[in-house]
């Protein structure tokens, strides 16, 4: 299967985000990338959206995951960074691949521990299908329908350009 060009998808995602970002005052809107792919995307999206005042942060949801009891704490976790007041903000969560929805549930739980946002929107590069919760992205640059044993990942070349890989889970 030929995989879509991640760089082209990034441009589509930026275009789809623009109306949303412009719907409210830039100071009232914030992008929050999910570690690690979502945080990379956020970094690249910020200059593409043409809003200098846009606030942004990063979430590592390790402390909120629902598989802690079975899998333990993720070995590599990073401090979440939300350097703005979440209260009454329109938050746009950015992630690379949307699958079961469990990461987003964890991210929303964590966000509410920072404060009560005005709204939360989910924007992803690829919605690969297979959600297990009543959560779905409002914005996706691409919709796919992958089998459960397929693992779609966003990776970075050394020069920072994105690419997608698709592997079969063992």
């Amino acid at each position: 299967m030929k995989l879509p060009d991640a760089e082209a998808l990034l441009k589509i995602l930026a275009e789809k985000l623009k109306p949303l970002v412009n719907a409210n005052k830039p100071a009232d809107t914030a992008l929050v990338g999910i570690h690690s792919g979502g945080a990379w995307l956020t970094e690249r999206l910020l200059p593409m959206l043409g809003q200098k005042k846009l606030q942004h942060g990063m979430l590592d949801v390790s402390f909120y995951r629902d598989d802690f009891a079975s899998r333990g704490l993720h070995k590599e976790n990073r401090p979440s960074q939300i350097p703005f007041d979440v209260r009454d903000k329109h938050i746009i969560i950015i992630d690379d691949v949307f699958y079961t929805g469990r990461t987003i549930r964890a991210a929303m739980n964590e966000l509410f521990d920072y404060g009560r946002p005005a709204s939360i929107t989910l924007a992803v590069l690829v919605n690969r299908g297979g959600r297990e919760l009543p959560i779905t992205p409002q914005i996706a640059a691409l919709d796919m329908n992958l089998a459960p044993d397929q693992n779609l990942q966003l990776l970075r070349h050394e020069d920072g350009r994105f690419y997608l890989t698709l592997e079969k889970n063992a």
Binding site: F63, F68, G72, N77, Q81, I82, N109, D113
Partner: protein, 316 residues
């Protein structure tokens, strides 16, 4: 021999001592603690990791700071916390430690934080307890105080990130100090190239140099050009006989004053595990001075204990 703290596949199951733990596990704890530091600055200072778990603080020996920070750490992880004041409980009526512990296991406790005046107490409980229970040593006799050692190296790393280029001095009562032993193991495991101990001969264990430290009996020589000074509390309650002429004499030779601090590097940090004996091992002007990181140590102690508990709870 299998390290009793680790699972078959090398994950941390109990925290009993820093000695023998691989560097990767120490770094995992410190990195995870880094993620917990920010949790205390949020509106809701809790994460749900230990929701539904019960942490039991069993302190057979007095403690305020350690017990309180363990309690706060467990509560910030959303655990339920039982504080057992063992001195006034069934221990006083003659119950054995294992009976006390097993009764608490029957009440579905999941994790024990143990302080005891006997070296090896936490180890003993860990050896005899049901396999799904985790034990954390919060200080056993003169042996070890691993979370204190970890929070101390965490504090060092925060102020002096390049651990491979540091000169650290431990000053004072090394002989009675479980903190000193844990600090030495943590520092050497993490690759600190030069660890010094500065103490009178009567307050040093025999063959202390085998732990990989340099020994000084003259404080002025020992403090020269160090990056970190870790003061130790003079443990007069553990002393018997004539180890010291007097507290005043001790302060004169081994107390940290501004003048002696001036021998260390100008940006050196001063640490103390508490409780401090002001005017015995440390002068007030130093303890409250700009180079002191004694209160940040306490704050970081919470994040480090959250990291230890959450890693253990996940390794079932």
């Amino acid at each position: 021999m299998q390290n009793p703290q680790l699972t078959q596949d090398g994950k941390l199951k109990h925290l009993l001592s820093i000695e023998g733990l691989p560097k990767a596990i120490l770094n995992q704890i410190l990195d995870t603690a880094e993620s917990f530091v920010g949790v205390a600055e949020r509106e809701v200072k809790k994460v749900p990791l230990l929701r539904g778990k019960t942490v039991c603080n069993m302190f057979f020996e007095n403690s305020t700071r350690t017990r309180t920070t363990f309690e706060i750490a467990a509560k910030r992880l959303s655990a339920d916390v039982l504080n057992l004041n063992v001195g006034t409980s069934s221990q006083a009526k003659g119950e054995t430690i294992l009976d006390t512990v097993n009764n608490l296991v029957a009440m579905h406790a999941d994790m024990f934080v143990v302080r005891h005046a006997q070296s090896g107490a936490a180890h003993f409980i860990a050896q005899h307890i049901a396999p799904h229970i985790h034990v954390i040593n919060a200080g056993d006799g003169r042996h070890a105080h691993p979370t204190q050692g970890l929070l101390d190296v965490f504090t060092v790393r925060r102020y002096k990130p390049d651990m491979h280029n540091l000169r650290v001095a431990l000053v004072g009562d090394v002989l009675h100090s479980r903190v000193a032993r844990s600090e030495i193991h943590a520092l050497t495991t993490l690759g600190v190239p030069e660890v010094r101990v500065i103490a009178p001969k009567t307050l040093l264990p025999a063959h202390v140099e085998k732990l990989g430290v340099q020994v000084f009996h003259d404080m002025r020589a020992g403090l020269k050009d160090v990056d970190v000074i870790m003061m130790l509390r003079l443990q007069s309650e553990r002393m018997s006989g004539a180890m010291l002429p007097s507290a005043q004499e001790y302060f004169k030779c081994f107390g940290l004053t501004q003048e002696k601090l001036g021998l260390a590097k100008p940006d050196a940090i001063v640490m103390h595990p508490g409780p401090m004996n002001r005017g015995v091992e440390i002068d007030s002007s130093v303890a409250d001075g700009s180079q002191s990181v004694i209160l940040p140590q306490v704050t970081y102690g919470i994040a480090v204990r959250m990291a230890v508990m959450s890693i253990l709870a996940g390794n079932s």
